[in-house]
Symmetry: C2
Subunit: 193 residues, 2 copies
């Protein structure tokens, strides 16, 4: 059926927005009902539990993330251009999501809370790290990075850089953030080149 999916999409969109601003836990059925102009039970019927709602918000966000960050990066030529594209897409993504990247905030929010949410998130983060590693691998293959480097280490270094950017940008509102991030990326690439 058509209508149901469409409404669900609308709810998820509102939910993602709230989650970006205030965290995934503070997305409530009631506030989502108000935001979409529906009744609480109407919203609830689509998910059957709050935990499922949270999981579906994460999956919805992952779809957007994939389409907005990963896919376009993979369309860029392998090597350093692709790495830079990925970084820029990631930054653009966190800027587009007013309130911050849901994956980062949920990671700290749910790192210690067992359940479906944590499990989903963990899988997504592992996929992301894997993505970083594969992009490093392809950069080696085209000769943009040294052959003897550890792709896992590269993934760690690159992700750390993004997390640093995130905190400086979202909380500290430091005006030099972009410059710092660029300098750190240049240093990273130079070391592995």
């Amino acid at each position: 059926m058509k209508k149901g999916e469409q409404t669900k999409q609308m709810i998820l969109e509102a939910g993602l927005s709230t989650a970006s601003h205030s965290g995934l836990e503070s997305v409530s059925i009631g506030s989502l009902a108000k935001a979409t102009g529906m009744s609480k039970s109407g919203v609830f019927a689509h998910f059957e539990s709050k935990e499922n709602l949270q999981v579906e918000i994460l999956k919805y966000a992952a779809d957007l993330f994939s389409g907005g960050v990963i896919v376009p990066a993979l369309k860029t030529e392998a090597g350093i251009p692709r790495i830079k594209a990925l970084v820029n897409n990631w930054i653009a993504w966190t800027e587009r999501m007013t309130g911050g990247c849901i994956f980062v905030s949920t990671s700290t929010e749910f790192s210690d809370r067992p359940g479906k949410v944590r499990k989903t998130l963990l899988g997504q983060q592992e996929d992301w790290v894997d993505c970083l590693r594969r992009i490093a691998q392809s950069a080696i293959e085209v000769g943009d990075l040294r052959k003897d480097i550890d792709c896992d280490q590269f993934a760690f270094d690159l992700y750390s850089l993004l997390l640093g950017f995130y905190l400086y940008y979202e909380l500290l509102h430091n005006s030099d953030t972009k410059k710092r991030q660029e300098a750190a990326l240049e240093r990273l690439l130079a070391d592995y080149q």
Copy 2:
């Protein structure tokens, strides 16, 4: 008076523990009352609002952080030894706080929520970044780092590294995390040396 302060301390301790595990927002007066064996109103009377409670938990944590991470690092000889001490103390701190570092989790939790909590946190994070910068500066002065480096950039790089460690350690539970962090630190020091 004596008794009051003592009880308050006990409440803050319980609150910090909860906040580390589940986030600062999910520290509730009721659960804190249960944890300390007090009544809700008894707990409430010490803070007069939940927001004040949250702020005081942050300040309590900052005291512990200062005593456990910063002060001992400053007692170590300036330069690379001090930098390494700071990093190790920070890591030991996040490990001691089962459930994670309250400053990191609260940073993502409150980065977009105006109020006293955000203000307090922002000040603490600025102090922390400042601390990193000054430690870099002292390392330059004793000749452990190059004279021409940008201490702010060093602070960014170092903090990023810690944030990367944090996510790998707390969420991903990656067994290579310590190795990754050490490698990243070596690379950082080598570049600025």
